[in-house]
Symmetry: C2
Subunit: 203 residues, 2 copies
């Protein structure tokens, strides 16, 4: 297991940042290199192409977020609390980026996935893969919630997809309206979907 080089990591982080805040199509390899303070040649030494960089940046970003997701969705936490904490996290994440960049930037995986999935199969597959990974967290939490009787029986995978799509759709709409207030009804919608009441109202 060789460690990723500094240059490579700097490119991955810079690329995700730049593309997240703008779009894949509007960010050039030169832009990324300039911001990362890396030469073009080094870029193409580290990555075969711009698309390959995007795929690697996806994976890198996922790996950075994963410990937090593992914690949020830990089976040590009551299943509905997991869902609630995930909602809070998703909103917090958007607001943090909003304050840093001044604009609502949405979910990078969805935005870039949606931009490129009809054009670049490699990127589409990666976006799909990451979506599936996230849905696993959700379906596991939902399965546990059903098992303990806190939500009605139903297909956990299907419910997870409904929740996932709702969250991604809401975040996208918040981006399009560039309005953080829209995120306020994220949790409400999620609990509508799983037909349970937020924990605060339960306890």
């Amino acid at each position: 297991m060789r460690r990723e080089s500094d240059t490579r990591i700097k490119l991955l982080q810079t690329a995700l940042e730049l593309i997240w805040e703008n779009s894949y199509g509007s960010v050039s390899v030169d832009d990324i290199c300039n911001r990362a303070d890396v030469n073009k040649g080094s870029f193409y030494y580290a990555f075969k192409s711009k698309a390959e960089l995007a795929v690697a940046a996806f994976e890198h970003h996922w790996n950075e977020k994963r410990p937090l997701l593992d914690e949020i969705f830990s089976s040590q936490v009551p299943p509905l609390t997991r869902l609630e904490n995930y909602c809070d996290y998703a909103v917090r994440d958007q607001l943090a980026k909003y304050e840093k960049f001044g604009k609502l930037c949405g979910c990078p995986f969805s935005s870039i996935g949606s931009e490129l999935s009809t054009q670049d199969e490699q990127i589409r597959r990666k976006a799909q893969e990451l979506a599936e990974r996230k849905m696993k967290y959700l379906s596991s939490a939902i399965r546990d919630a059903i098992a303990e009787g806190s939500i009605d029986a139903g297909d956990p995978a299907e419910l997870a997809r409904e929740v996932f799509c709702y969250v991604k759709g809401l975040i996208m709409e918040a981006k399009i309206e560039n309005n953080p207030d829209i995120l306020k009804c994220l949790k409400k919608g999620v609990f509508h979907l799983v037909a349970a009441r937020p924990i605060a109202a339960l306890s």
Copy 2:
């Protein structure tokens, strides 16, 4: 009220088609001109810029779809039936494009809006405006459903946003997974959100 010229309309249709199937960033003015069989000069005679064309293409596409939406959401139709018909229409629309182009292309307003809303304020505002128009149909149907008692009381505007975001999120996810099967749970999720049962199960 002057009629829009043939050239202008051909450019509007071609541009929407091309950008819908690919992305704004990957489609050049030359691409649009070639496909529409129009010269570059005529393009810039008809539109100030590529971005202005995109905005006009949005409006044009909306106007083409509007009669159908007016029919679907007519107050002559029972409110839950309106929702159900809208779900069916949204799915049918995606499948039609899927069969014509061979790929799931998602919602053009959302895809393009999401791609460009951090970069081009003009396009962002138009995408927002069209989203608001569509949510009006939904909130009106939901308000009527509450009035007739077929769904529980709640803020119609907020519920409409939840439904809207869910639908857009699901369609985006179907695009990212390039899998029409995902659309199958569209209706179920919508009726989860409004906490009503599909009409078939009611009657």
